[in-house]
């Protein structure tokens, strides 16, 4: 029993890392432009397919092609923001929801056209064997995914804390007018922040690609999970999202051990409802916006 609980904690933590990175993107985007990106799940899928494409066409492992995935996804996010989000940036939030939800449908169907609905997978030779620690076994792609997630989050942290662009992003998220008066182009910062958020989704997708099957609609499950995690961590609080992601990963894994797989999702949404009822600003949220 102790072994299976430890095993499920480890599995949960490793998956939680991937959730954390994806949700960090949702929270960053919300923090800067007060828009919930309901296309995030679809963008995770796009990340998967970018990695899959490079694997299938060029034989490059998703880990090696990760920098290209980051670049492609950043540019995609930047473009999406400029073309579709920016025009509705001051629109009522239900309209923004419709737009990002619509984007999600467009992206999914684009993937269907390009890659068909057939399930795909990436199998990396040598990566299918688990690492054994006594009775515990650790799935290699999940471990690598976790390591790279930590690196990616660290990268986002350094970008936000140590660079002028990062400071401008933080400044814009708390004090739009003050930032504008310093000569910061808020529209450009919005697009960059959206690009970074989408790149986070893309990295999560690329790292999930060797772990699970790939299909154009697989992101839907992640969409709601990312949203739940971002709210749990306090929308706009990206480090809250990271912590919440790890928690949700562990809860999901332990719940599926204790109650069975079909219950684990329910536990997550139960937590979501409780958070909304009792602490709608999230674990670390301070103020309501």
């Amino acid at each position: 029993m102790a072994v299976s609980i430890t095993q499920s904690l480890i599995d949960g933590l490793l998956m939680g890392g991937v959730y954390a990175l994806a949700a960090l993107g949702v929270s960053l985007i919300f923090g800067v432009m007060k828009i919930t990106n309901f296309a995030h799940g679809a963008l995770i899928t796009v990340g998967m397919f970018v990695a899959y494409f490079m694997f299938a066409q060029l034989g490059v492992s998703p880990y090696v092609s990760l920098p290209i995935t980051i670049l492609v996804m950043f540019l995609l996010g930047y473009g999406i923001q400029k073309l579709t989000i920016n025009p509705i940036i001051t629109a009522p939030s239900h309209n923004q929801l419709l737009l990002t939800q619509g984007l999600s449908i467009v992206l999914e169907n684009l993937l269907l056209v390009l890659f068909t609905a057939n399930y795909k997978s990436i199998s990396l030779p040598g990566f299918d064997k688990a690492i054994k620690f006594g009775a515990l076994s650790i799935n290699k792609p999940k471990l690598i995914a976790f390591g790279l997630v930590v690196l990616a989050s660290l990268g986002v942290y350094l970008l936000l804390q140590k660079t002028d662009i990062g400071h401008a992003i933080s400044a814009t998220s708390v004090q739009r007018e003050g930032a504008t008066l310093m000569g910061i182009k808020v529209e450009r910062i919005n697009a960059i922040a959206f690009g970074i958020g989408v790149a986070c989704a893309g990295v999560a997708g690329a790292l999930l690609a060797p772990i699970q099957y790939i299909s154009p609609t697989v992101g839907e499950g992640f969409q709601l999970k990312c949203f739940v995690i971002a709210v749990f961590g306090g929308l706009g609080n990206i480090w809250g999202a990271v912590v919440a992601g790890l928690i949700i990963g562990v809860v999901e894994s332990v719940a599926s051990l204790a109650l069975g797989g079909s219950w684990s999702e329910m536990v997550i949404y139960l937590i979501f409802i409780l958070v909304l009822l009792f602490k709608p600003t999230g674990l670390f949220g301070k103020k309501t916006r």
Binding site: H167, G178, M182, G183
Partner: protein
């Protein structure tokens, strides 16, 4: 020289600025005074490009800057220290100051300007690593002024810098503004504190319900009976 020509600005259907014309010569300090709701902040927002006018022009050194975006206006050297400071509270004092020099030209001189700002506002150096939001109101106002200076402004516009400050701090702050002016920066001071603002300035404008009610040498305005009656309560 910064010139405002027959400016009209609306908020929705409400006409806030109704035909304002004014000019600020290089190196000059002017005060724009007026009561709450006279349109002072709207006028400044229009100069900074945050708000587009219905008609009229804003000219800087012969160039029409009326339709330029805010970042282009900051790049020309027209910088605002906004009302209510509008700092980035979770960031440190130094990070706030550094963001003042976000644009290319100012960034090149960042190190030197920062040294200069710390020299002028030594209190800020002691608080450099503290979150700006944790400072007192007076110190936050100094950060806002320092942040404005970091942009290497040719014209520095202060919007109600004395708001919420004690009389002592107000004096200190006006002294800093005078130093900034003496260093060669053109200053536009927008205040409700009419007497203090006019005492420091070369010239003054009185804004009333969206138009200029009086203008002239600051010392003359201070002697003006009408102004005395309505603003100074003498």
């Amino acid at each position: 020289m910064l010139t405002v020509e027959d400016l009209y600005v609306n908020y929705g259907t409400l006409q806030i600025i109704q035909g304002v014309s004014m000019k600020i010569e290089d190196g000059e300090m002017i005060s724009l005074v007026g009561s709450n709701g006279a349109g002072k902040t709207t006028l400044l927002k229009t100069i900074s490009g945050l708000k587009k006018p219905e008609s009229g022009k804003i000219i800087w050194d012969g160039e029409d800057i009326t339709t330029l975006s805010p970042d282009k206006i900051v790049a020309r050297g027209i910088v605002q220290v906004p009302e209510g400071r509008k700092l980035f509270p979770q960031m440190t004092v130094q990070e706030n100051l550094e963001l003042g020099s976000f644009l290319k030209e100012a960034k090149k001189k960042r190190k030197d300007t920062l040294e200069y700002v710390y020299e002028m506002l030594p209190d800020l150096q002691k608080k450099a690593k503290m979150p700006a939001g944790s400072l007192s109101g007076g110190q936050q106002q100094m950060v806002a002024i320092g942040r404005g200076m970091m942009a290497c402004p040719k014209v520095l516009i202060f919007d109600e810098p004395s708001i919420g400050l004690s009389p002592l701090l107000t004096d200190i702050m006006f002294e800093i503004i005078r130093k900034i002016k003496d260093s060669g920066t053109t200053v536009m001071l927008v205040e409700q504190n009419v007497q203090n603002a006019l005492r420091m300035a070369d010239r003054g404008y009185v804004l009333e319900q969206g138009h200029i009610a009086m203008e002239g040498k600051a010392s003359d305005l201070l002697e003006n009976e009408e102004l005395k009656k309505s603003y100074l309560g003498i």
